[in-house]
């Protein structure tokens, strides 16, 4: 059961997303309308803490708990980076949720989240089918 640790971390992650209300459509609207610091504070401070942590891992050459070298893959640029980014942004403002919050919403009891997850799966599947025809 090597996956239990990921399940446990996911539970904590889901609790944090829920308690900080970043899974709320209202909070996402507040963000896109620049009417509160909340979302910017959450995302910004998460990046700062992530950045410092990664630097500490790199500088001290920390290994995983199993003693493996930690590998950080570079992200590759394609035209999809910005085209897909904008498409996701449109969806983010409509649903008020990115993929993580959709799963947390479903757990919290929002029925609409089931519809949105199914639609997101259809979107991912459609992208996969059309991939070769899209600008890259």
């Amino acid at each position: 059961m090597k996956n239990i640790k990921y399940l446990a971390l996911g539970v904590l992650f889901g609790i944090i997303l829920t308690k900080s209300e970043v899974i709320s459509w209202f909070r996402i609207q507040e963000m896109f309308r620049f009417q509160a610091l909340h979302m910017y504070g959450v995302i910004g401070s998460a990046i700062v803490v992530g950045l410092v942590s990664i630097q500490l891992i790199k500088r001290n050459r920390l290994k995983t708990i199993n003693g493996e070298e930690i590998v950080l893959a570079d992200k590759k640029y394609t035209h999809g980076t910005w085209i897909g980014g904008i498409i996701f942004g449109l969806g983010w403002a409509l649903t008020g949720a990115c993929p993580g919050p959709l799963f947390a919403q479903l757990g919290s009891g929002v029925a609409a989240a089931a519809v949105m997850i199914l639609a997101a799966l259809a979107g991912t599947w459609t992208y996969s089918a059309l991939r070769e025809k899209l600008p890259m």
């Binding site: 507040e30 980076t81 910005w82 897909g84 980014g85 942004g89 969806g91």
Partner: protein
């Protein structure tokens, strides 16, 4: 104590905890934080249909599905077990704008029922907000190679310029929808 569990967490508590998820995943298993990939794995597991992009051993990435299952359980614990306020305390300006511009009146819950109640699937609102919105999230994140977790948090934490391009795209799309398309729809 009940209040502490029930009330919402400030950004300076939640943000750093989300940030710590990045090193936690690296240290426990060399995994990069990213959630939208789970959608691809589900497609690959359920309906690969001979599509090359969906033909791979998704079982090797099953940690991601366990993580996402955890997020769902966390949503249940964080909302139903720990409790929650009836109405999210968003800024008065946002409430005013959503009332006057979009005609919303019910601000209870996580999402406005006037747009996201399942009955809305009988009219355009449900299809635009739930179905089209969800579709764009699934299509766009995979095309961009990540979402808020994979690009904004994990990618920017690792100083990936590609992620900065993606995040600028996320906000460009979100702002376009909020400031240009919403006023046309309502």
């Amino acid at each position: 104590m009940t209040d502490l569990l029930q009330q919402s967490w400030a950004w300076y508590v939640a943000g750093p905890l989300i940030g710590l998820t990045v090193p936690a995943l690296l240290l426990i298993g060399n995994k990069a934080l990213g959630i939208s990939s789970s959608l691809r794995h589900v497609c690959a597991a359920c309906l690969p249909a001979g599509i090359p992009f969906l033909t791979y051993d998704w079982r090797k990435e099953s940690w991601n599905l366990w993580f996402v299952l955890g997020i769902g359980i966390g949503g249940f614990i964080g909302y139903q077990v720990m409790g929650h306020p009836d109405t999210i305390a968003i800024s008065a300006e946002t409430v005013r704008d959503l009332k006057t511009q979009m005609g919303l009146t019910d601000f209870s819950g996580l999402l406005p029922k006037e747009l996201f109640a399942l009955e809305n699937l009988a009219n355009w609102k449900g299809w635009v907000f739930m179905v089209l919105g969800g579709f764009l999230v699934g299509f766009g994140t995979r095309y961009a190679g990540g979402c808020t977790s994979g690009h904004a948090i994990s990618g920017l934490s690792n100083l990936q310029w590609v992620s900065l391009v993606a995040v600028i795209g996320f906000f460009a799309g979100g702002l376009l929808l909020t400031w240009v398309i919403y006023p046309l729809l309502f």
